[in-house]
């Protein structure tokens, strides 16, 4: 992922406006602070951009449509590792209270992939 991604999503009652600066962003916080609502609004918009009341900022072409992987709470942390192949190219927004464990798991997976790539490279020489 290069640069920053501005994410703007709004409905009649709500508006989210923030920037993703890293490949992996974890949304966490107290209950009833809007984490699930944010994820659902993004999901709603991506699945039906023209026919949904949810709107994203039309002037921002590198916004919502580019977040290709995200996940609501209630998914086991180990399943997040399926996002690892995307991490270098697209911003990923995850909702989780298991943030620390998840980050370590993701980091471990990246290191494993890099080690395997290096091993193949060395064998090739």
């Amino acid at each position: 992922m290069k640069g920053r991604y501005r994410v703007v999503v709004s409905s009649r009652r709500l508006r989210y406006d923030f920037e993703l600066k890293r490949n992996l962003t974890i949304v966490r916080g107290d209950s009833a602070t809007g984490k699930t609502t944010l994820v659902e609004m993004i999901q709603e918009y991506i699945s039906n951009p023209s026919g949904s009341y949810i709107v994203s900022d039309g002037s921002n072409k590198t916004g919502l449509e580019d977040i290709t992987a995200y996940c609501p709470a209630g998914i086991p942390a180990r399943q997040y590792t399926r996002f690892v192949p995307f991490m270098l190219t697209v911003p990923i927004l995850l909702q989780s209270l298991q943030g620390a464990g998840l980050l370590w798991q993701a980091l471990g997976s990246i290191l494993l992939v890099l080690a395997l790539v290096r091993l193949r490279y060395l064998r090739g020489r």
């Binding site: 009652r13 709500l14 916080g29 107290d30 209950s31 009833a32 602070t33 809007g34 984490k35 699930t36 609502t37 609501p72 709470a73 209630g74 998914i75 086991p76 942390a77 209270l97 298991q98 943030g99 620390a100 464990g101």
Partner: protein
């Protein structure tokens, strides 16, 4: 007492929102204890078994309550199941302790929930130890999450 199993637990209900969606009963929502809990955690007022007044979302059905409150409701009424309480934020911790004040409850946690500075009584099922503060809880639970 509140019993907690930390880490992966095969039998635990992981997606509590989905479980709640297909399982909740109208009378749960109008229970006075639940009404107080919804007001405290979600800042929302129960108007009827099917309508809750949220200051942010307007009039919502019970399935649109926060993930934390939905899990708390399941923990309160389903004594026979173990639920993943890592869908609850720290603002749900005191309610977990309240629910388990008079009856035993078992939950599954995949993270270190903050149960606050006051003393409490929690049994960590992984080691079968009873702890009374976060200072005692963290070193034991931290091994499993």
């Amino acid at each position: 007492m509140l019993n907690i199993f930390y880490g992966d637990m095969a039998d635990a209900v992981f997606n509590t929102a989905s479980y709640f969606k297909y399982d909740y009963a109208d009378e749960w929502i109008t229970d006075p204890f639940i009404k107080e809990m919804i007001l405290d955690v979600d800042s929302s007022t129960v108007l009827d078994s099917g309508v809750i007044d949220s200051p942010i979302l307007g009039k919502i059905p019970p399935v649109q309550l926060s993930g934390g409150v939905k899990t708390l409701i399941l923990v309160k009424f389903h004594t026979d199941r173990v639920f993943n309480a890592s869908t609850c934020g720290d603002n749900c911790a005191k309610w977990l302790l309240k629910i388990a004040e008079k009856e035993d409850r078992t939950i599954n946690l995949r993270h270190l929930m903050n149960f606050g500075k006051d003393s409490f009584q929690i049994r960590i099922l992984n080691t079968n130890q009873i702890v009374y503060s976060m200072k005692e809880l963290v070193p034991i639970a931290g091994e499993y999450v």
